[in-house]
Symmetry: C2
Subunit: 162 residues, 2 copies
């Protein structure tokens, strides 16, 4: 998505990357932000409705953000190396329909994807468009673990009309 | 919300707590999960559309979770001290309509609230009900910075019919 808004194609999907969650990082996140027993301790997790230690849902969501930022950086570097301009990505107004579909356990590898499902020129911010993207993560068994629909402002190409 | 599902009153609002975001913790979260320049560096933030260093939206959301867990723990301790049973809080299927309405900057103090807006008996999980809660955080100027609508399973009282 180093494309400017006007060059983005609705329907395009991108693999952001993958991440293997470790017990240590699950517990580190949980100590800071979600200190519930099943996110902190294997035995407490086994006794819970999750059946084992599992990541905070906000940890999974935050990891989506990390992989998205890493992907954007790689693409910006590629564009710069090719002498192409790099569009500005604006703020996200928010998201909708976030679902945690399956627990994420130590050793699980999630592959994160993002697909553009809508684009429209911003009425409130001249020079910007608003992208809607569907995002999901599947685990190593091919099971969907996480999904949400997000929005972001993206710069319209300086050369484009409107 | 140490009440069992059947005792929860729709319309009830609860102040979960408040948190003052520091530059250090904003940067620590960003390094791990959202390494964009405006979340990592004061000068880059000043040059951005945010006008200053600001917290990742996922940091704000994760802090909501932390304050909610802390609030639930306090209430569970009170219940235990009074000899009352403590209901089990089940997993969250997900969220909708999350909005980041204003940047959260170093020194900003957010007060987080949660209000029950709907309850229904779960069709899929006998013994459980599903709560819908509106959540928001206002900064020290009284400006809304963050909001979303969440859902959670909550245990029905063992003594209740149904």
């Amino acid at each position: 998505m180093t494309r400017f808004f006007n060059d983005v194609v609705v329907g395009e999907a991108e693999e952001l990357g993958s991440h293997t969650f470790t017990a240590d990082e699950i517990k580190t996140f949980a100590r800071a932000f979600d200190p519930q027993p099943f996110h902190l301790d294997e035995a407490a997790g086994a006794a819970s409705h999750f059946g084992g230690l599992c990541a905070s849902g906000w940890h999974t969501a935050s990891m989506w953000m990390r992989l998205r930022v890493d992907s954007l950086k790689r693409q910006a570097e590629d564009a710069r190396a090719q002498g192409r301009p790099v569009p500005k990505l604006g703020p996200s107004p928010g998201f909708r329909d976030l679902r945690w579909l399956r627990p994420v356990k130590p050793g699980d590898t999630l592959v994160f994807w993002s697909k553009i499902v809508d684009k429209r020129v911003s009425a409130s911010r001249p020079g910007w468009g608003l992208l809607t993207h569907q995002n999901w993560a599947d685990n190593q068994k091919g099971e969907r673990a996480f999904e949400f629909t997000g929005t972001n402002f993206l710069e319209v190409s300086p050369g484009a009309a409107g």
